[in-house]
């Protein structure tokens, strides 16, 4: 009975909050605007709390890995040491995340590591493209032809082979490619609206236990 009441209350709060925000989209009202702003502020505070919970989850996961001497536990040790160091650097300076030490770690450790991992995509694109362009069906044949035209249309060699290849490339990108992408975007937009409405109407309750 207690659980049922709690569930109904959570659904009622969701519906009420959703309707308030939706009303603010249609009606210009100072009171509604302020309510929406307060709700957005609350959402930001909750997101910050979630970040803290997330950090605790990361610490718990890696401590478990170290304690169990699971494969790769040494990396977990490095992760926790790095996490602790950055937190200490942040707290040791009144400027917090804007402190020179934290900025240094961000600029000279985080950014290069991120760039290094992201640089792998160049090689991964090559192997993924090879697989995607293998002619196994009519679809992949069409994709191969379109891909070759677009690739050759961007380099001087393509112009040397066929002087109208740049125009063909532009046509592919402007018409079939854009049409396909817009079709997907429209479908996703409709799906998003219906998902939102299902939550608003209490049909989907991902937040209710």
């Amino acid at each position: 009975m207690k659980v049922k009441f709690g569930r109904s209350l959570a659904v009622a709060i969701t519906i009420g909050t959703g309707l308030l925000v939706l009303a603010n989209f249609f009606v210009r009202n100072e009171y509604l605007r302020r309510v929406q702003q307060t709700l957005l502020d609350w959402a930001m505070i909750l997101a910050a709390v979630a970040l803290l919970l997330g950090a605790l989850n990361v610490i718990a996961t890696h401590l478990r890995k170290i304690r169990g001497r699971q494969p790769g536990w040494v990396y977990s040790l490095f992760l926790l040491a790095a996490l602790g160091t950055v937190v200490l650097l942040g707290f040791s300076d009144p400027r917090g995340v804007a402190s020179p030490a934290v900025s240094w770690v961000f600029l000279y450790v985080h950014v290069p590591l991120q760039a290094t991992i992201f640089a792998l995509t160049a090689f991964f694109i090559a192997s993924a493209a090879y697989r995607a362009f293998r002619v196994r069906s009519v679809d992949s044949f069409i994709m191969l032809v379109a891909g070759v035209i677009v690739l050759l249309g961007q380099v001087p060699l393509g112009q040397a082979i066929w002087d109208r290849i740049a125009a063909a490339k532009d046509w592919i990108l402007t018409y079939p490619s854009t049409a396909g992408a817009r079709g997907i975007i429209l479908g996703v937009a409709l799906g998003t609206i219906l998902t939102g409405l299902r939550v608003l109407l209490g049909i989907d309750r991902p937040h209710v236990k």
Binding site: F26, A43, L53, I117, A132, L190, G191, R198
Partner: protein, 258 residues
């Protein structure tokens, strides 16, 4: 067309507000009507989507081998525009967690956005608690890898390479970092089911996934896997609205051309 825009401007209504109002006025009655028809016994045949059909096989293989299923909810959260995609991933996760717990397949769920973590943990716990012999089966594990998209991709790559995963299911918001994870899955010979909505990521999904949920298919999870009248009605409304939009576009083209 210009007349309608002028009329809207004079009444203080923006085009976005008018469009949303029209959509809502269309959606709500249609949703109620279709749900009532389905409750009255009307039967709807849904076209088969191979990605949904494949899930059962993958979970079964995981139960047989004892190797875990990895499920990624993407890099989106629930307080930004990626909410709908994250909720679609969460709906699929609910099904996967229930099935995995029912047949004793280990499940590892990873998220990148901390706002999604409590929901993922709650969903996995719910699936575990509903199992009749819950203490004999492993509770699905939901964990945060990293709030940064690239770092998250690196963490997932490590799981796919090092944890002998039986299947990789990824549904949610993904950016270009998807390729790092998808391609690692291919190289580790892990069967993959992937759902994404971003048109720029879909070519990568096509190249790396065994089965793909493309765009709006992601939002059909409820209708296919938890077939309640309201979910199937919602899918029908989506189809009808699509037809309405196509006809509106065609009418617009005709009016402009004539």
């Amino acid at each position: 067309m210009d007349g309608i825009v002028e009329l809207l401007r004079n009444s203080g209504t923006s085009e976005r507000q008018a469009l949303m109002l029209v959509l809502l006025l269309l959606v709500l009655p249609l949703l109620a009507l279709f749900a009532a028809q389905l409750r009255a016994g009307k039967r709807i045949t849904l076209r088969p989507i191979r990605a949904f059909e494949r899930l059962g096989t993958l979970i079964g293989q995981s139960a047989e081998t004892g190797q875990p299923v990895h499920m990624s909810l993407g890099v989106g959260g629930i307080v930004d525009p990626s909410t709908a995609e994250s909720l679609a991933g969460l709906a699929l996760m609910e099904h996967v967690a229930t099935q995995a717990t029912a047949c004793g397949a280990p499940l590892k769920v990873t998220v990148s956005d901390p706002t999604l973590l409590p929901l993922a943990q709650d969903t996995s716990r719910k699936a575990w608690e509903t199992h009749p012999y819950q203490y004999q089966v492993q509770e699905p594990e939901a964990r945060l890898v990293a709030p940064d998209a690239t770092a998250y991709a690196a963490g997932v790559m490590d799981i796919l390479l090092g944890e002998r995963v039986a299947a990789n299911i990824m549904v949610g918001r993904f950016g270009p970092e998807y390729l790092l994870m998808g391609e690692t899955g291919v190289k580790s010979r892990v069967p993959q089911v992937v759902g994404a909505a971003d048109p720029q990521v879909l070519p990568f999904v096509h190249a790396t996934a065994d089965e793909a949920l493309i765009g709006e298919e992601m939002f059909a999870v409820g209708a296919y896997l938890r077939p309640k009248a309201a979910h199937i009605a919602s899918l029908r409304v989506q189809d009808w609205l699509r037809v309405f939009l196509i006809l509106t576009i065609l009418l617009g083209v005709l009016l402009r051309s004539l």
